[in-house]
Every structure is written in structure tokens, then in C-alpha cells.
Amino acid sequence: METQTMTDVLTSLKERFPDAVEPSEYEGVVVAPARLLEVATFLRDELGYRYLSLVSGVDYPQPTARFPARFEVVYHLFRESGGPLTLHVHAERDDPVVPSVVSVWPAANVHERETWDLMGIRFAGHPNLRRILLWEGFEGHPLRKDWHEVYYEADKKPFESRYPNGRPTMAEARSPLGDNLRYPPGWSPQGWQSQAEEAVYAPLEAHLGGDGRRMPTDQVVVNLGPQHPSTHGVLRMVARLDGETIQQLEPVLGYLHRCHEKIGERNTWLANMPYTDRLDYVSSMSNNFGYAIAVEKLLGVEVPERAEYIRVIMAELTRIVRHLISIGSYTSDIGVYLTGMLYALEERELILDLFEMASGSRMMCNYFRFGGVARDLPDGWVALAKELVYERLPRRIDEMERFTFNDVFRARSVGVGVLPADKAIAYGCTGPLLRASGVPYDVRRVEPYSVYGELDWDVAVAYHGDIHDRFVVRFEEMRQSLRIIRQALERMPEGPVLSGKVQPALKVPAGEAYGRVEAPLGELGFYLVSDGSANPHRYRIRAPSFANLGVLGELCKGHLIADVVAILASIDITLGEVDR
């Protein structure tokens, strides 16, 4: 049924735009850049593709059988009823320009800025095309295949140069400056001035016009972070205030940009698994899950049933941990200091014990493999898990939920940071943020993966779209997670947990795949392009909290500055994933 509708979509696209649309190399269609906006508007308004999930840039330095050497911009679109549609737009390799789709899907804003920053593809008509993860003035666009970092050794791992005579060499020893630094030829610090800070504040002074040097006294620009107790890591925000009211707010990202995608394209497929742990480092099992699903799509392997159940149990336990942490940190942000967090961390430790028993590590589990999980559950694991999900956690979740009836909590959260449903969809928000606005969109339900289709559970939804409802949704989701875990623990069959065996230098058939799961923070997607070798050609991550952060400025407008930390905590971000 789903494939039928998919074919319908492609046929109606071809009927409407016969000369602008042609089939792509692997999935979806190639759209002529000149007609992109028309096609996008048609898809959104008439076929219901209101939800833009991801914009990625792909570099093809070598010509393929059908297309010349090029940059490609890839758009992943979804409808409320699922149905992924992939649009490809080609651009020349020198001076790539593609029309911006921000006017059709505001969600494209942050993704296009990232693509410009890391891939160097310009988006004509983008309202604010600045670097987002690196700073203004950085030399080059790192994700291009011909851009090499300072410690560059070879295009693909494993690096043979690392053991020249049987002994490892240090990366510093190979770099001319003895450090991970490189300056353009002829560059000298004499008379040079950094532009990075001015560029951060420039959009806040845009409303002044002219040279932007005349800051009127009734509005001030303030800076929050990156070292700030309420920014959940190293997020930085710059805001323009009128008194205490936010007029404009811009998140400044990149303080934890760890070059995940560049490193991932050099790693072997399996070597990326532990790196995904460090995306949203609180919910490493969910990240493993998303990556495993995406690679399994390319490989076409089957997962044994026992492994599917173990995966679901682990992912749902992770969801409980993540929501507990989110509630704990929200309470400390609105002034309870550590108490709420201590309640949350107490339960978290018990769940981490289960993770440690199964995987050997508390936080960075690295437990999933392509075609199953790394090892079976140890003896006594199920009994401990049952005790936790039947006895302890339901009581503790009820106890913590009393928090939402607290007067201070309600005063700080009811009616604050309201996000209407249509805006939430337009900005590409997912997860509890979207479901609190009354949109029952959950990847586990619209596109059931693993064994979620066989289990009995409900999608948690609330309708006011304010901070309070986001936490109502989180509490309800934790209860639903417990429901799922209980069913999975009862139904889990005996049997193998891994199909085939683990191959470190696995070769993946050429193709592209977009695998997505419902991570605790929202839709976590992995867009992978394989050229048939042992390393990904493109390894792109759709981080839910990065997309959700795009709406922060809108949510904060008109609120007091004290509400910013509350709104930020209710969106719930993890910087490891935002900056990657």
C-alpha cells in the first residue's frame, strides 16, 4: 500500500513537471535547480509533504556512469502518514549554487546554513547564510573530499602510515607545527584582527541599518554562555533585549563541533558505531539503533527476533533515562538547584547498571551490531530488569510527576514558550516538542521499525504546546516505555542475537539509505551513501535537537530573559548531537 502511494507520488510529479524531474541514481528523483521552488511548493501544498527532515550536501568528485562530477543537495521529505521522498539537486563543482527552500520549509534554515558551512554550497535567497558550526573566517569547507585536515594521513582507514616500523607514530610528529593547526601560506598575525565575534553579533544589529555601530540605549545585547549553568553544556546564545523582554535571540553553535561526519567518512562502517554513542551521549543505545537500521537497509540483512526485542528494550530504557535527565535539569534550571536532578540520577544509575551488565560500559555502550547486538544478555539480567520496570520505576515516575502540580513549576511553565502545531511542523520539530503541540507524529508509529508494530502502546500527545505540556508528554512517554519493555520482556524468545558474524572491514553494497528512529529527543536519522567500499562515501546525521533548536529564537521572542533557560530546557538538547 505504501509503495503504491509512493509510485503515485512519482507519477504525479512526472506528469506535472515532465522536463524538470528525472530518476536519480539510487533513490528518489533529481530536480532541475531552476524549478526546485515550484516542485517544493507543489509537494508541500498538493501532496502533503509538509515536513522537511534533512538537507544534506554530498560531494561527488569523480563522475559516475550517469552524471558528471558534482555537488548534490539531498532533501528528505515526509508526510504525516510516512512515505519518504528524496529530492536530489545537482550543482557544479566550482561555485555551487542552489536555490534556498527556506521560504517553503523554514526547517531548511539551519540545515542549509550547515551545508554552506561544511560543504560550501551557497543557497541563493537564504535570509541569513552564515557559518553555523565553525566561525566566520575559517579557511575552507571541511566536508569537501579535497579538503584535508592537518592530521590527514589517508582517505580511508585503517591507516597504514600509523605503524611505519611496527611502532605507532604520534599525529603531532607529522604536523609541521606540532599541533592540530594550519595557517594559510603567507598569513601572519601581525595587524590581523579576529572577525569571529563581530559576526556573531551582526544579525542582532541588523535592525539598526547603516553601519550598525550606533546601539540605542533602550535595547541592549547580552550574551549567555558558552560556560553557563543553564545552557546544558556549551551552548551560547546572544539576545537583544528591551528591558527584560527578548526581542531577538540567536543560538551560537559549534562549541562542541567534533567533526563527527568528516571522521565518519574515513572510518570503516563498523568503526562508526562507537562514535554514534557520543552523539547524544545520554542516550547512546538509541543512536546505535538508528545507525544499525540505516546500514542494515543498505546491507539487507535480517535481524534475529531475540535481538530485535533486546534492541527495543534497550532503546526504551534509554528513553526513560533521557526523559529523567531532561526533567531533572529542567527543575534545576527553574531554581530547585540539585534536588530534582538527584531524584533523576538515582534512577539513572540503576538503568546504567543494566546497560553495564549487558554491554560492559555505563554510558558509551557500543552494543549494537549490523544484524543484531554484540552479545546476549547475561544471566540474571531479565530478573533485574523486571524488578525495575514492574516495581520501582512506576512508583518513582509517579512520585516525580507530582512535581508538575507544584505551584512554582506551573507558574514557570503554563503558557510559556507556546509552539503552535503548524509552526512546529514547518520548523521540522520532532519528538516531545512536536507531540506537545498536538501532532501525534512518532516514527515508531508512522514507520514502524523493529518490533514496534507488534507491541501494544500509545503515542503520547498534549495539545497546548507550552513547556508544561512538553513535560506531561515526557512523563506519559516514560509510562508507555515501561509498557513496551514489559511486553518485550515477556515475549522475548530464545535464540541467536546476531545473524552472521561481525566483520570489521565489512563492504557495503553501493546505494543510499535514510534510516531513522524515534530517539528520546526526536527523529534521529542517518543518511548514508555507499560507493561499495569499506567506508561510507557520505555519512550524514539528522540530529533531532539540532533541528529543534532552529525554533528556539521564535519561541523566546517576547518572553522574559528568565524564561529562556526554561524554554531551552523544555526543548531539551544535547550539545554532542547539536554540534556533532
Binding site: 592537518v150 598575525p189 579576529s194 553557563h228 562549541y255 567534533r258 551521549y281 540539585l338 540520577l345
Partner: protein, 205 residues
């Protein structure tokens, strides 16, 4: 009455039995003992290790046993900086600025593989290969992330370090040492780390 230090003003004869003038090294054990029980860490996590740092402060592991439960958000009130996570080039100026703002005596723990050397992200174009490229580090804690117990071991290592410290040798009580702080890096075509940029000038000439 000990020997009169030539640098200090003359003490009147009637007071000579009341004050002790000279090196205060006999106070070092007391000084170090009291510091061990009131070490205030700087609030602020960088990356994944921050969550193990928070777990170390929470109920199961209970950092309050060390007198360290007071985590200060302001560097002006902190004695210890726990660099808990990857130091990116973009974050480097802030790390150095925070370090410079902390009052002496101050200590730095590099927590986790990333803070020690860049860890799994070492080859990344935006990653500093170890926080010791920027600021001096006292204790390194290996692990990715280290368990809370490993972090406690670092605190104990810091205590052991203090057992060897004597007041007269501490640089922040000495008048001949002028502390200008660490030069703050800037963001240019790459991170402008002044310690390395000096080398750049040297190679050009």
C-alpha cells in the same frame, strides 16, 4: 623566635614573643589539610564526561564526602577546573579565559581521553589535541568516559600532590613571580594559539 626575615619590617622588641616571623612552612600540613576538605570545582561540563562528573556528584557516589559539593558557576570562586570533555578550537578561547579568571591556587584535571589528547576525535579539524596544549594540567584521568571512581582517584592524586607542596615554594605567594596569565587564543583562519604562532614566525625567518 625565629630568625628575622630581612625583607620584612622590624618587629618591636615587646612583640617579638607574640609573632612568628619567617617562612610559614611549619603551617603547610595544616594548610594542605584544610584545602583538601574545601576544594570548590568550577561548574561547567564540556561533553560526554560531564555526565559522569554529574554522576560523581550525585547520590550514589556522593562528592560531598570530599567537601566538594559546592560547585561554583563563577570561575572567581573556583579552585579546580575539571576539563570534562572534548576541547574544540572554538571553545579554546573560553577555556583559557576561564582559567585566567580563576584565583590562585588553581588546579586542572583533564578528564577523559579527549581532554588528554583529543581522544577518538583527535584527527578532527576543530579539535584541540589535548587541553595541555593550552593550559597546564595537574592530573590526567584516562577513560572514555572515566567512571566516577576514576574521577575520585584523580581527587586523591591531587591531595597527594598537595602533601608535597610547601607554602614557601608556592608561586602565588612569591613576589618575584609575576603571573600574567595564559595568552588567550583567537579564532582566525584556524585557531590562533599564540604558543604555536611564535613557532610559525620562527620558521618563516
Amino acid at each position: 623566635m625565629t630568625t628575622q626575615d630581612a625583607r620584612l619590617p622590624e618587629v618591636p622588641p615587646e612583640l617579638r614573643n607574640n609573632v612568628r616571623i619567617g617562612p610559614l612552612d611549619w603551617l603547610s600540613p595544616l594548610y594542605n589539610w584544610s584545602r583538601k576538605r574545601s576544594l570548590w570545582p568550577l561548574f561547567g561540563g564540556l561533553a560526554c564526561c560531564a555526565f559522569e562528573m554529574i554522576a560523581a556528584a550525585a547520590a550514589r557516589f556522593d562528592q560531598a564526602r570530599f567537601g566538594m559539593e559546592i560547585v561554583r558557576p563563577s570561575p572567581r570562586q573556583a579552585d579546580l577546573m575539571i576539563v570534562s570533555g572534548t576541547v574544540t578550537k572554538r571553545m579554546a578561547p573560553q577555556i583559557v579565559r576561564l582559567y585566567n579568571q580563576m584565583p590562585e591556587p588553581k588546579y586542572v584535571i583533564a578528564m577523559g581521553a579527549c581532554a588528554i589528547s583529543g581522544g577518538p576525535f583527535k584527527e578532527g579539524y576543530n579539535v584541540v589535541s589535548g587541553v595541555d596544549k593550552l593550559i597546564p594540567v595537574d592530573v590526567y584521568v584516562p577513560g572514555c568516559p572515566p567512571r566516577p571512581e576514576a574521577l575520585y582517584n584523580a581527587f586523591l592524586a591531587l591531595h597527594a600532590l598537595w602533601d608535597r607542596e610547601r607554602i614557601s615554594q608556592l608561586r602565588w605567594y612569591r613576589k618575584d613571580v609575576v603571573d600574567e596569565g595564559v595568552p588567550v587564543p583567537e579564532l582566525g583562519p584556524d585557531l590562533v594559539n599564540w604558543r604555536v604562532v611564535e613557532k610559525l614566525g620562527a620558521t618563516e625567518e
